[in-house]
Every structure is written in C-alpha cells, then in structure tokens.
C-alpha cells in the first residue's frame, strides 16, 4: 500500500526534485517503483540521496546494503548524493568502499548547523531563575533509551563536592517511558529537598530546548546527529554518551568529535556515576570549543546554505529560476 501511495503521489505531483533521506530503496524496497517511474517520466525528476555524516559501522552498512542492492540503485537511479558532513572528518567513499560511479555523484555539504537567532543567554537564565551558578543541560533525544544517562547523571550529582553549585535541567524526551519518567521526576524532587544548593528540574519535553542549550555551561547528551551539531553550533562543552545498541553510528560520530577535542565521550558500558562526576568537574574547568577551534579541525557547519545552493543549481539547470530572498 505504501509503495502504491508513494508512486501515485509522485506521478500526480510531477516533482522536479526528489530528495530521499538515508535509505536508498526506502523501507523494504518501497521506493523502487517510484524511482523507476521518475527515471522514465517525460519530465525526468532529479533524484537526490541524502546521507548523514556517518550512517553506520562500515561493515554492517555494507551487509545491509548488499541485501537491498543499494549500491546498484545508487549507481543507476540517483543523480546526486548529498552528504551532510565533511569529507576530511569521515569519508564515506573510503569507509563504505563506494564505487567510482557513486563517489562521483557525492557533494559534501557540511554539517546542518542551526541557523536562527536565539534570545540571549541572560534572558533564558533569568527565566530559569538562575544567578551565577553553573547550568548543566541533560538531554537524551526522544528519550526512548535515555533513562540510564539521566539516572547516572543524578547519581553523579550526589557525589560531587558540596561546594560546587550546579543547576541541572533534565529533559526526558517524548518517548521516555512513563514509569521511568516518574522515577526520574521523583528523584529530582527528592534531590531538590536533600541538596537545595544543587537544584534539579525535570521536564518531559520542551520546544525551547535550543534556547536552554544556548544558555547552558555544559551539555550532557547522547550522540544523535542533530544534538551534536546543535552543541557544536552553539560552541558548548559536552559530555556525550552515545547509543551503541542497534548500530554504531553514534559511537563513531562521538569518537570522531572527541578525537578532534570538541567534546568528551563515554561508552555507556564504561559509564559510572564516579566517572561522570569527575568528567563534569573536568569539563567545567576546560574552555568551551571556539569558532577558531572548529575551523582549525575542518568542521564546516554551513550545510543548510550549501543545500540551498545545490537546490538552486539543479532547478536552474531545469530552466526553473526561483527568486531568492537573499
């Protein structure tokens, strides 16, 4: 049914540009009829594959792709491949052993940095009722498997030296299971009673996560693409506990950034409250990554602008000349 809906929608819509995120053949090959139809249509659409910086462990990815013949599809059905990362940092051509035909289609766009103004840190800190204390934001993405990080963080707080004043904001995420959410909420309330100098606030979800991040002194998070890119755009100190189950995308990304000295990473299997507490203190005394530092290691955060440029180029080649606002 999905295959039919996608195909019929595409045929009726007659797109000029077809962007496919992450999976070359979609779920279970559902995109194949559509890709073929677009390839043969009277007004051939440009099909573009979109990849994150790191997709998965190279060996696993190759096996996964072999199953669905993704390499062949990338060679035949896609006109371009846009990678939202930097070749100098992680080169999919080398890591995934992509053929010449495929690698010729690749355009590296840089990371999709955050591109909007924020209220000042002072304003956000004021709204949170903060004076001069250190502000730590703990975010675990959608929260589905975020409980261990939240739990370890709370335990780490308990063993920090008493003179360290910290305000912590824990964001659970929309998919944090109800039971775990309650445990964390209770622990936070308890801590606020026992250690009033170290208040912890818990919220299950916030639209203002970026505002909070912009005002934070340190971010504790998992290793998803968006979160890490936001941390880097905002030039924040970060302690990252990547997800290692299912695939090693987050582990590879976090190790990469750690090697460049942009953040610190902890393998979840080796994470303990003691280690996290020590890292917290260490990180708070270290300088935050600067713009110069990002540039020096070759980290380009201008991906959104690059994407716009590519879209304009392709539309221009098709005789469509959109006017832009800048």
């Amino acid at each position: 049914m999905r295959e039919q809906i996608i195909l019929e929608t595409t045929l009726a819509y007659q797109p000029d540009l077809f962007l496919v995120d992450t999976r070359p053949v979609g779920v279970g090959g559902e995109l194949l009829p559509t890709l073929r139809a677009l390839d043969k249509g009277q007004r051939k659409a440009v099909s573009v594959m979109l990849f994150r910086d790191v997709l998965n462990d190279p060996e696993l990815l190759r096996a996964q792709w072999q199953g669905v013949q993704a390499m062949g599809v990338l060679e035949e059905m896609y006109d371009e491949i846009w990678v939202f990362g930097c070749q100098a940092l992680f080169d999919p051509v080398k890591e995934y052993e992509l053929s010449d035909i495929i690698s010729k289609k690749i355009r590296f766009c840089g990371y999709l940095g955050v591109d909007r103004p924020f209220p000042s840190s002072e304003e956000t800190r004021h709204n949170l009722g903060l004076a001069g204390e250190v502000f730590v934001l703990v975010t675990v993405g959608n929260g589905r498997d975020g409980f261990p990080v939240l739990d370890t963080y709370l335990r780490a707080l308990e063993i920090l030296p008493k003179n360290q004043e910290i305000f912590s904001l824990l964001v659970g995420g929309p998919d944090l299971p109800e039971g775990e959410q309650q445990v964390v909420r209770q622990r936070c309330e308890e801590m606020a009673r026992v250690q009033p100098e170290r208040p912890v606030r818990f919220i299950d979800f916030s639209r203002q996560l970026l505002e909070y991040m912009a005002a934070a002194d340190l971010v504790v998070s998992m290793g998803g693409y968006n979160t890490l890119v936001e941390i880097l755009t905002l030039e924040k100190r970060a302690l990252v506990v990547p997800r290692v189950r299912l695939n090693s995308e987050q582990l590879i990304r976090a190790s990469l950034f750690e090697r460049l000295g942009l953040m610190r990473m902890f393998h979840p299997d080796h994470l303990s409250p003691e280690i996290l507490a020590e890292a917290l203190l260490g990180a708070l005394h270290a300088p935050a990554p600067s713009r110069q530092h990002l540039q020096a290691v070759g980290l380009d955060l201008n991906g959104l602008h690059q994407v716009k440029t590519h879209v304009l180029r392709l539309l221009g080649e098709r005789g469509l000349v959109p006017t832009t606002s800048r």
Binding site: E3, Q4, L11
Partner: protein, 413 residues
C-alpha cells in the same frame, strides 16, 4: 485477515467531522476484534485526537473551502493540481487497501467531487466494499437541497451508495422530508440516533475538587474546535460575569481553542485578571486553550455555554448537563436549526447571537442555573436517542457479516 474499513473525513470548518469519526473508530476498535481502520483526511491534527490501536491515517494535501471559494491551503499550486493529487492518492490508497467498508462523512462526493474516481474504482474492486455515507442529524435544509443539487449528489447516492446512516432521530428531524429525498435514496437511510458519549469514570465531585471549586457554581464555556471565531462569546461572557449578583459564587473555565488570535487572547486575559481582582473570593476564571479532558470538566459543570455544533450539544445532553447555546448562524443554519429544535423540547436554552450582550447573557446564565438539568426521562420523552455509537457498531457488524468478514464482537447486545 482483519476486516478493513476506510473512513473519509473532510474537516472544512473545524475539527467536528474528524473528531466524530475518531469517536466512531475508537468504539469499533474497542468492541470488534481484528479490525483495521484507515482514515483519508487532510488534517494534521488527527494525531492530537488520539487514534485508537489498529487505526492509521493517509494524509492528503490540504485545501480550504469556504462556500464557492476553494484553494490549496499550503501548496502554492493551482487548485486543480492539488485536487488531482488528492484524487489520485485516495484512489491509489483505496485500491491498494481493498476495504470491505467505506464510510464517507457528510459529503457524498467529497470536496469538489474528489471522491468520484475512488467510488467508481471501489465499485469494481475485488473486496466489493459496502459504501456508506454518514450524515449529521441535520444540516440546514435549504443548504443541503441547493448544494446537493449543484453537485448532483442524489444520483450518486442512488447509484454508488449502499446505505446512508443518519446520526440523529427521525422523530426530531426527518432529513428525508426536509431534504426532499426521493424514495430510491430514502430506502437506504438508517437512523442511528445521536452519537452520545459515556460519562467519565471520575466522579464529578473529584473533578470539582481538583479544580478547586467548592460550593460555588461551575460554568464551562467552550467555543468548539479550533476557536477562531469564538471571541465574541468568550468576551461577552467575561463581561456578563461582572453584571451578576455580587454574592453569587461562580467559577468559570473558558476553552478558547488553539486558533484564537493572540491579541484576542490577551484581551480576554486582561478581563480575567480584572474580574479576579474585583471579586477575589467569588469569581475565579481559568482560560485554557484545549484539554483532552474536556469531557471530565463538562461532566462536573453546572452549566455549559457553547456554540451549537453537533458534537458539543450531543456531549452536553448525554452527560445530562444544562446548556446555554449561542449558535453560529453562518455559513449555514445548521447550528441554529439544531439549537431551536432542542430548545423547543426544553432540552437546552438558546441565545441568538444577534441578541448577545453582557446583560442578556447574564440574565440567561441566571435563568439557566435556576432550571433543573435535563433528566434521562426528559430526554426519552423528547424522543432523543443517544445510543448512536452502539447502533453504528451494530450496522458495521451486520455489513461485515453480510460480506462474510465475520468479526467476533467483544460483546453481543
């Protein structure tokens, strides 16, 4: 293989059509085993309404329709291109899904006749679906007559529809007579009764306690659905509060809906604070956008002030609450007709929007609060059947049995 239902719900003006269909889906999923329900709708709010398990949505590109005016809501494409797109998505979905029953809400041809290709394709489909049109109790008679004539709906109902379910009572309002339906169509009509709701499990006292309402009166004001035209009622209500006797302890919850413009919300908020400072002990006002617990709050209220939409009025009556209805009188007379009908039978009180003023509303509030709430006996005597959801389930089971897609019902009754 489960029995497959396909629901078409177009929400033009508010959320009413869609939330009614979700209500039906929720009951069917609770009471019939192994049932798949797929919605065709343009609304991106469908997930806010909490879909039951076994249910999913194919979302259509959005169009706006106001009377004769129609345009795409989001895509900057010609209207024809977007309706083409919608038509083809619907038809492809229907053919791939192969439903056993298609339930079309309200508009037998869909927006601008977009359903025709799907209806025709399903007539030939291997799953041989039963095609049903669900109609409200009433929809302003002249509107239906004119509109249906313009789109040639009667021949389509004759040719392509197997049944027509009316979510109302023939004794109260007879669409066959009012819409002048020919015999060929009238034969297909089944009256289901109003789609009443079950009272919440929490006792009203507990809800009142939670809201901090002790001995005083609790009045809930809701302007229905999205609330983009609710301001006059909400604003007049707050002004009316100031005209009421000083010693009357009265607590209010106002639901604005998510689309109330921000400036209007600020005006209401200012008035709310003014009232709170003038009557610190006797008059509290809460201003809420939306709550999934609206029914809980309704059940605990002494009086509900609302517009005259089908869902709201039906909910109020099935909870046995007093209602003061200020019906919409545009784009058609549906709400006015419904409110007048129920007022004549002493089930609700009505205030025509042309006569809406702080003073008239204050008087109507006092009178409504003094009157007894409608009792079960009263509803029965007026010929009001609120068992529509159960009837709809019975019809679904009957049709699927007839199709030999015999689902086991979780209870028979």
């Amino acid at each position: 293989m489960p029995a497959k239902l396909l629901f078409y719900a177009h929400n033009g003006w508010g959320l009413g059509h869609l939330s009614r269909m979700v209500k039906i889906a929720t009951l069917l999923q609770a009471e019939i085993h192994d049932l798949s329900i797929l919605f065709l709708t343009q609304s991106s709010l469908v997930h806010v309404l909490r879909l039951p398990p076994g249910t999913d949505v194919v979302k259509l590109p959005e169009v706006l329709q106001k009377g004769q005016f129609a345009a795409p809501k989001r895509l900057p494409l010609p209207f024809e291109a977007v309706t083409q797109l919608r038509q083809r998505i619907m038809r492809a979905t229907a053919l791939a899904y192969q439903p056993h029953l298609l339930l079309v809400d309200h508009a037998p041809l869909g927006v601008r006749q977009e359903l025709l290709p799907t209806l025709r394709a399903l007539k030939e489909a291997p799953s041989k679906p039963v095609i049903v049109c669900g109609l409200l109790d009433l929809t302003g008679p002249s509107y239906v007559r004119e509109h249906w004539q313009a789109v040639n709906a009667v021949p389509i109902l004759e040719e392509l529809y197997d049944e027509i379910w009316v979510y109302g009572c023939q004794a109260l309002y007879d669409p066959i007579k009012e819409y002048e339906l020919p015999d060929t169509v009238a034969r297909k009509v089944r009256f289901c009764g109003y789609l009443g709701v079950k009272p919440p499990t929490l006792p009203p006292e507990a809800i009142r306690q939670e809201l901090g309402v002790g001995r005083g009166k609790l009045v809930l004001v809701t302007v229905g659905g999205l609330g983009w035209d609710g301001f006059p009622v909400l604003d007049t209500y707050l002004e009316a509060l100031e005209c009421l006797p000083k010693d009357l302890e009265l607590h209010s919850i106002l639901f604005t809906g998510p689309e109330l413009p921000l400036e209007q919300r600020e005006i209401l908020d200012r008035r709310r604070r003014q009232i709170a400072s003038r009557f610190p002990w006797t008059r509290s006002v809460q201003l809420l956008e939306f709550s999934p617990r609206l029914l809980d709050f309704m059940a605990a209220s002494d009086l509900i002030v609302a517009r005259g939409g089908y869902n709201t009025v039906t909910e109020i009556l099935s909870l046995g609450r007093r209602a003061l209805i200020v019906p919409r009188v545009a784009p058609n007379l549906e709400q006015l007709t419904r409110a007048s009908l129920f007022e004549e039978r002493g089930l609700i009180r009505m205030l025509h929007p042309d006569h809406l003023s702080p003073r008239s509303l204050a008087e109507a509030l006092l009178a409504a609060l003094r009157a007894a709430p409608p009792s079960r006996q009263h509803l029965q005597a007026a010929g009001l059947d609120l068992n529509g959801l159960h009837q709809v389930k019975t019809h679904v089971v009957r049709l699927l049995r007839y199709q030999a897609k015999i689902p086991s019902s979780r209870y028979e009754g």
